[in-house]
């Protein structure tokens, strides 16, 4: 899904402004659902076969040809809908101590680009996400990542997230945990 060599015009082929607008709104709404901890509604934006993936990142030399974005390697998330549901189930427990008082989440999404694919109702969507987490008195953590999504229109006409690859910027997570979805 490399866009190398393609012009902006070619990228936009088959993608009209209304669709771009609709997908942008889809992603912004998703961000707000996460900020407001509306996790069941968030899960409802997923396709049944969703793959939600945040690989671990390593700093390696350029000459190193090892495939680091690989599903044989350790990850923060390499989830299907079942795994995502289990995570949400934990977050919803009254005994989820690390969420009480609630983490104050902030998801900012930008640089959204939409690309057509071979399949008429599926689009590759690139975006950047900035997540700030504030907890308790003065705890503040920043996560930034580049995302590559596959967004699909289902039989009901609704947009669903079918794939998400999240490339974190940090090799060493600068936080005690990752109690956030990006």
């Amino acid at each position: 899904m490399s866009d190398a060599g393609k012009s902006g015009a070619a990228l936009a082929a088959g993608v009209d402004r209304d669709l771009v607008f609709e997908i942008e709104q889809f992603l912004y709404r998703e961000a707000r659902l996460l900020d407001e901890e509306r996790y069941d509604e968030w899960l409802a934006t997923m396709a049944p076969d969703v793959h939600y993936w945040m690989p671990g990142i390593q700093a390696r030399y350029r000459a190193d040809k090892a495939d680091l974005i690989s599903r044989t390697r350790m990850a923060y998330f390499d989830d299907d809908l079942d795994y995502l549901t289990k995570r949400v189930e934990r977050a919803k427990q009254t005994t989820a101590w690390a969420e009480d008082p609630p983490t104050r989440h902030f998801h900012m999404v930008s640089n959204i680009e939409v690309e057509a694919t071979e399949i008429p109702d599926e689009w590759v969507v690139h975006s950047l996400v900035l997540n700030l987490r504030h907890r308790n008195e003065a705890e503040e953590q920043t996560l930034t990542a580049r995302r590559q999504d596959l967004v699909r229109r289902d039989e009901t006409g609704a947009l669903k997230l079918a794939r998400r690859l999240i490339r974190l910027q940090q090799t060493v997570l600068q936080a005690k945990n990752m109690n956030a979805f990006l």
């Binding site: 030399y61 690989s70 350790m74 923060y76 289990k86 934990r90 427990q93 690390a98 060493v172 990752m178």
Partner: protein, 454 residues
Amino acid sequence: MSAPFAKGPAAPADLPRDEAPASGQGPLDEAAIRAMVDSEQGWIDRRIFWDPQVYALEMERIFARCWIFVAHDSQIPEVGDFLTTYVGEDAVIVARARDRQVHAFINSCSHRGNRVCFAEAGSARRFTCNFHGWSYALDGSLSGVTAEELYKDNPTFDRSKLGLHKARVESHGGMHFACFDPEAPSLADYLGEFRWYLDVLLDNDEGGIEFVDGNIKSRLKCNWKFPAEDFVGDAYHATWTHSSALQALFGNIPTMKADRSFQVNANGHGWDFGLDFISNAATLCEPEIVEYLRENEVRFAERLGKMRSRMVGSLSSATVFPNLSFLAGHNTFRTWNPKGPAETELHTWVFLNRNAPDSLKEKYRRGVMLTFSPAGIFEMDDGENFEHCTASNAGVVTRRRKLHTGLGLGSEVEHPELKGNVHRNQVNEANHRAFYQRWTDLMTAPNWADVPVR
């Protein structure tokens, strides 16, 4: 009426020990260190989690003298394979050299001290410094010097003395440990009777274990000892701290059986475990893993004996002193790397039996990720505890009261099979006390000869 700024009464000179003035007031001599840990009764001075002087001495007397886990064989299988990690705050390179042996040496150039290797892992022929181009072989020796003729007839330039500072490296079951103290006992003696327990994981199958590719790292604002002691024997916290994850997965909280569980320790290394065989493994939510363990139960027992075989996937946690922890059943190893008195870098790995079916690799990789990684539904609640146990000690008054670590006093038993110091009931703090006994032994001993076998 008294004057508005009149001084209150002077503090009495004979304050009881737990109300004595807090850190930074007085030398950190042997008596002061001994007074911080009462491993008989289980009282721990909070200053050991906060005081920069204590931390500095830990780097000298613990991390620069103990055997520290640096790599598993499977992470660097080929000549030239390397990874970079830490022994205390010392950056080290661990590499497999042409002799096929694993070598570990300080990741800092002998010339001006620049970091030599910046990659976390990879494969190399040599390590070349970016500053002036000195290069080092895979065993750390100096192999090349830019324009070496400049040093011709130089009286202090001796190539053979300018290699990277090497550690001793010894291994057990494919786990390589590094040690920078020539006086330290062998790794085998350092692990002592705990080797017998380590083999529950490292040798329950003839092929031994391998690590899954990759390594997840994170930073916690906690003293390194809180997570290390948590794994050495804090079964007590499991059902409370992790109640949300247990509820989410099973809809209830399991109970631990006091009469069917133990804490064992040797030389400050400790493991708390039940004899349930399967409970840790079951939380990975991958039925194939449980099936694999059940199918091999008899084989494990043939290799390990019935008793040890019950530990293979059981409800348990463990720490090899000072900073290597693991969970049987969950199959994760991790190290707690100190980054100052109030900061720790966690490195985590997933492992499994090398001869296990290939499909299990995927199951363990994902199962550990879901449960015990920074995003894992269990581990998520741990970091919060460790950080706040540390941060609260900023308070000078807070530091004056010792912490109670007395659970399970008097629970030691003689056991016909189990080695080391054995305590009944894994919900216990016997292993904490043993961990801090070892800590005190090392912190007060000028030489290894003064460190008793425990």
